[in-house]
């Protein structure tokens, strides 16, 4: 286990460095000169000397590796400059918007757990019966539905038709109820399908037959024995969805007029605010890498016998 975690941490660090290099290069090669953009903000028609001055001031005349180190250390010290869209320090913006997005995603995760676990257990229990068939149909639809459209449908029905919610976000958790649900639906649908087939695959294994022979009830076998063994693939996909939830948040935030990291990123892209864009993507990607790492560790803890199997081969 220790050796395994050590190995994972090394590959985790390599990926993290790769992620930061890639997002830095993406922006550095964009062909857009941040100095020129900033100069245009200050004066309507900057002279080449003025642009050059800003370039030297921002350290943009330095070679790429030096700029990469500066940018990376800026991320830790919090000196990344000001955003072109909000005119606030980028680090401060990130804190604020990330908090909003985290609450949105956190609530979506609650929805996902509440929807996925009981429904897929029921599907596996009542296999090929009406409930299973209906769920199958609904989950196929749920995967195809674009989240932003679902968001609008929810708004139309609950906010305009029934008037249970306001169209503009209300403060507190109530405002996140509809958006987090819209965000959770596609992920829940794919997770229900994965969990159902994972549970069914376990049903045919020997330990289930043994438990049946011991006279345990089907429900008890399902919850006490099969669930734990069926979880690893679900956990892996669940944590993978984490990144998609933050990214998909951009669209949902736009539908429900929530100010989160997604809309901040899109605004920064449109305003060609290169530093803000690269910082946002590296933060989001880092969250995703950490989530994947956690998924691996949780799986090892859930099913330690899988480690042995892998070491054998």
């Amino acid at each position: 286990m220790k050796k395994y975690i050590g190995k994972r941490i090394i590959s985790f660090l390599i990926v993290l460095i790769g992620v930061s290099v890639l997002s830095f290069l993406l922006i550095a090669w964009s062909g857009k000169d941040p100095a020129e953009i900033i100069a245009h903000r200050g004066v309507s028609n900057p002279t080449p000397e003025q642009i050059e001055m800003i370039r030297v001031e921002m350290g943009l005349d330095q070679p790429l590796p030096v700029r990469y180190i500066q940018w990376l250390s800026g991320m830790f010290t919090g000196e990344l400059g000001t955003s072109l869209t909000t005119h606030q320090p980028i680090v401060k913006d990130l804190h604020k918007y990330l908090a909003t997005t985290t609450s949105l995603v956190g609530m979506a995760i609650l929805w996902i757990i509440v929807l996925t676990v009981p429904i897929s257990l029921l599907c596996a229990r009542k296999r090929n019966r009406l409930f299973d068939q209906v769920t199958r149909g609904i989950t196929i639809c749920g995967i195809c539905v674009p989240t932003f459209w679902l968001g609008f449908l929810l708004l139309l029905f609950f906010a305009i038709h029934l008037k249970w919610f306001s169209v503009l976000p209300s403060p507190g958790w109530r405002g996140f109820l509809l958006p987090s649900f819209a965000l959770a639906v596609p992920s829940s649908c794919s997770l229900i399908r994965i969990m159902r087939s994972s549970l069914l695959a376990e049903l045919s294994s020997d330990y289930v037959r043994f438990a049946k022979a011991r006279g345990l009830s089907a429900n008890r076998i399902l919850v006490c024995h099969i669930l734990r063994n069926a979880l690893p693939p679900v956990v892996t996909i669940f944590f993978q969805q984490f990144g998609f939830l933050i990214a998909g948040g951009a669209v949902i935030e736009s539908v429900f007029s929530i100010k989160g990291i997604g809309t901040y990123l899109v605004d920064s892209v449109i305003a060609a605010d290169t530093i803000a864009v690269s910082t946002c993507i590296v933060v989001i990607a880092a969250i995703f890498v950490v989530a994947n790492f956690m998924a691996d560790i949780i799986n090892r803890l859930l099913c330690p016998w899988m480690v042995r199997e892998e070491n054998d081969t």
């Binding site: 590959s11 790769g18 062909g31 195809c144 609008f152 305009i160 087939s197 449109i270 990607a285």
Partner: protein, 274 residues
């Protein structure tokens, strides 16, 4: 296999939906009653009638024509993109599985790095770098998702490489190139096709979410996501303008997903026999 496929209602519905959308995309000019970009301010938010079967939008443009032309953007971007992705996936994925440990490690780590960026984020950044345009949308979808295709092909290939027929081919003097193209790829192709089919659905949704966010396409383009974005202002007064384009995205994505689903059921019958 085709015979089996045609027995499944799911596959038939899926294929029909795909066929309908492709026909609409090709023959959009013949079906649509008006020019989709023709602005007619005197006909703002017209009710559906004989001239405008689904009414008009906030600039008096024919909604039906815009929806029909929208199929061109979704299909026209997604299908070529998936073709490119499949080629990249098959070549790099099989190479990674056959080329020895060092190359394999390098490609795996590279894929991990790209997969670490949620596709929407990387595509948003790439569009930010390249600017607007149909080609740039296609390029950004490719950059955002190629690693997934490589990874899936690699894992299929690694599984197949352990089988006896590969060993038999090797013993009978087959070189690596021939092994990959004659034996490996034909055997992983059906499973890969399932992945590609669901990939089309997700790339359609991805392209329309860019358009919805206002990235990649000039304003006024008759793309479904962009139409949804245009219709937001009419949330209270004309909700039907929000419903149509979303329904189109949904139906198109459902076609590809249903087809892929049916294909998967045929290829992995074990699940049913449990």
């Amino acid at each position: 296999m085709i015979h089996k496929l045609l027995k499944r209602p799911q596959a038939i519905i899926g294929l029909c939906l795909i066929a309908i959308v492709i026909v609409i995309a090709i023959a959009a000019p013949a079906f649509s009653p008006h020019d989709p970009e023709l602005v007619n301010l005197s006909q703002k938010y017209a009710q559906p009638d004989a001239e405008y079967p689904l009414g008009t939008d906030q600039l008096g443009r024919c909604t039906l024509s815009r929806l029909l032309y929208g199929a061109r953007y979704s299909i026209g971007i997604s299908l070529p993109v998936l073709l490119i992705l499949s080629v990249i996936g098959l070549i790099v994925g099989t190479f990674s599985a056959c080329a020895g440990e060092k190359a394999d490690h390098f490609i795996t780590i590279l894929c991990d790095v790209f997969i670490a960026f949620p596709s929407l984020i990387i595509a948003i950044a790439v569009i930010g770098v390249l600017g607007n345009g149909l080609q740039n949308i296609a390029v950004s979808v490719v950059i955002a998702t190629w690693a997934w295709f490589v990874r899936i092909v690699r894992s299929y290939s690694v599984q197949e490489m352990g089988k006896d027929y590969i060993l038999a081919a090797r013993i009978s003097g087959c070189n690596t190139g021939k092994l990959v193209f004659r034996h490996l790829i034909p055997n992983i192709l059906p499973q890969f096709l399932v992945y590609v089919s669901t990939g089309v659905a997700s790339s359609i949704i991805m392209v329309s979410s860019f358009a919805f966010l206002g990235l990649g396409l000039p304003s006024g383009t008759p793309e479904w996501g962009a139409m949804l974005n245009d219709a937001r202002t009419a949330l209270y007064s004309h909700p039907e303008l929000l419903i149509y384009p979303g329904l189109c995205i949904f139906v198109t994505a459902a076609g590809f997903n249903l087809f892929g689903e049916a294909l998967r059921d045929i290829l992995t019958p074990e699940e049913d026999s449990l």
